[in-house]
Subunit: 435 residues, 2 copies
Amino acid sequence: MPQPPVQPLKALDLARRIERGEMSPADVVELCAAALAANEERIGAFASLDLAGARARAAAAPERLAATPLRGLPVGIKDIFDTADLPTSHGSPIHAENRPGADAALVSMVKRAGGLVLGKTVTTPFAFLDPAGTRNPHHPEHTPGGSSSGSAAAVAAGMVPIAIGTQTGGSVVRPGAFCGVAAYKPSFRVLPTVGVKTFSWSLDTPGLFAAGVADVAYAAAALTGRDLRVDGDAPAAPRIGLARTHVWPEASPAMQTAVERTARAAAAAGATLREVTLPPVLEEAFRAHAIVQDYEAYRALAYEYDHHREKLGPNLRQLLDDAATLHADDYDQACRIAERARHALATLMEEVDVLLTPSAPGAAPRGLATTGQSTFNRLWTLMGTPCINVPGLIDESGLPLGVQVVGRFGRDRAALEAALFVERVIASGRAASGA
Amino acid sequence: MPQPPVQPLKALDLARRIERGEMSPADVVELCAAALAANEERIGAFASLDLAGARARAAAAPERLAATPLRGLPVGIKDIFDTADLPTSHGSPIHAENRPGADAALVSMVKRAGGLVLGKTVTTPFAFLDPAGTRNPHHPEHTPGGSSSGSAAAVAAGMVPIAIGTQTGGSVVRPGAFCGVAAYKPSFRVLPTVGVKTFSWSLDTPGLFAAGVADVAYAAAALTGRDLRVDGDAPAAPRIGLARTHVWPEASPAMQTAVERTARAAAAAGATLREVTLPPVLEEAFRAHAIVQDYEAYRALAYEYDHHREKLGPNLRQLLDDAATLHADDYDQACRIAERARHALATLMEEVDVLLTPSAPGAAPRGLATTGQSTFNRLWTLMGTPCINVPGLIDESGLPLGVQVVGRFGRDRAALEAALFVERVIASGRAASGA
């Protein structure tokens, strides 16, 4: 089935136009409204919408909004974030009637920064692997990825310039890659999880989606007040470690080629490139991720499992059935491995600014029965390091292929700058051609 | 005003009697009911009660309950934990109507372990310093401490054998000390905060109250499945570091004497005692605590601050007013100091099993206008180490004086065993006499 072309809204460009008085926040809301009218029925990115509210807030105080860090830009919020004025179902029928008494911290931060909450984006149930029905804007027979399915798809389809998701395995970087938009999972602790439905308290990490790397960096800076923008001077050429990792064979040939060509093109553009072999404790940590996640999920979702097991998705039900037998000693051991791996990774990364890896095994799989795999993401979630999906590559079938830039813990600005460098290399066409 | 004598219910003793068939869970509920009838009007430990529900659950399946880890014992839950079948106001009029859609993870763990939730205990608003009206069971003109005021008072007054609280500064150890019961703040990560109203996501730590150290260890073991019980063999003599720390001058003369005599008495009973001087980074970390706490609270409580500032308590309002100016760089710096301090503390504690310090500056202050200070607690909360208030000492006016045992991160059983050793030394009378 042929698709209408989809085009993300560029947050940074819109913000500048508002800043210069060339557009108003209300104009941007209407751009979103037009994309929603054209695409939402086909894609299904939103769990609930508040277009009328966004229009009203944009109209009420345009000058005040235009002076805020987010300049009145509309924002989509994954439906596991509490919102006091919109339902918050966590993607599950168990909580279909849930109306929280307060906004999640990050929702408040969006409002404090002058963002307009346009709606809640579709999440897979409890942000796990059971799919939720959202379609990939680039091809409706393909998954948009998960669990932040709606946030990635909404940005890709131009329905909203900024969206918020969360990642426990690969739920920010993967859907960003599948939908062809920039996705940024910050260092652990940069964006708060307060008021977010917990799956794993050690792993759950909020993240951001926007058209490109500079857009997502702008949004992060506006939300946090941190020095994260990368749209000033041209990005410095980074020291890149090409990290194939032990799961490299699980990447498709197209993905392997994409990462290798991107690395070579970055080197040709001035980056320092070296092959990096991860120490063995990182492979142990890769396996420890599941233990940490599952042990915590069995407790975090105890109420739902104990009272509504039959209403859980089959993947989540199976995970929790199995997790019941995990012992605290296994968990403690997994946490200790993670801690050792963080130290080993920090040592390794004294010699490179970022690692370059696949964002996912390949392009978005065909079908809506799966949201894909977090194989190339979960280690970094456990490490708490910044990760950015860099968009711009497409595979032979026309679907987006994402490459991932992994930064050092707490060095998010350097990671974003390196991601911008890689994004420009890709945009120049050198990565695609293998030059 | 003379007080009726109060006597905590001993969880471990009750559990054993139920195990042996000498008592039923329903019998214990009636002990709680009698104490509630005698003391609750005077003390005000509960925000809501479900005595009928506890009676019904105790009566419905006595054999099944008696075979569970918690053996059907009643438990009080601080009112910042979500409960699906009881209101959860967080101690604030802002959330007076709040009825969560799920139980907090730890509430589910209580139920899974066979505990009966008897009610929600009074918390100071959002678990901060503004007092909530609960009175000290040992003297109604004195504070019970905070923020877990109701949990500590309810256990001290025999209304419930086990109660759950949380600590961000000193909100478990301090009220335990003021009310003369054992209070255990586990290592960070042992008890989940999922479904607990967040004040500071880096600091908030659930903890437990019970009559004595063996009781609180039993409750922790039953809840977590961890090897934490200390009621088997006699506790080994620990290596104790007497840690006066830089805030030692803020302890009352009575408290200083109590800690020093306890240390000497422990040594006389076989413990290895050494004076410990904390490295300077620990003093930096003491100061960093406020920055971490306040920066996070300004985000965690953003909804309440932005929409209901006038309904906040004056202490909390002031904190959030001031916290608005904290920058992410200050916060990052504080987090890095904390991390360095954790490593320095771990190194220091390779040579001792536990540190011995005051639990609070002295006994419970007179008056209900303050809940006391967390001076002797907040460093350890930031360090994430296990802390136990050891009860048994009383000052000249008859109020409890608590000494604190601080263990190594993740070595909770050793910390509890050392606390039991100290508790027995105190009970022997040697600590009081200075022998």
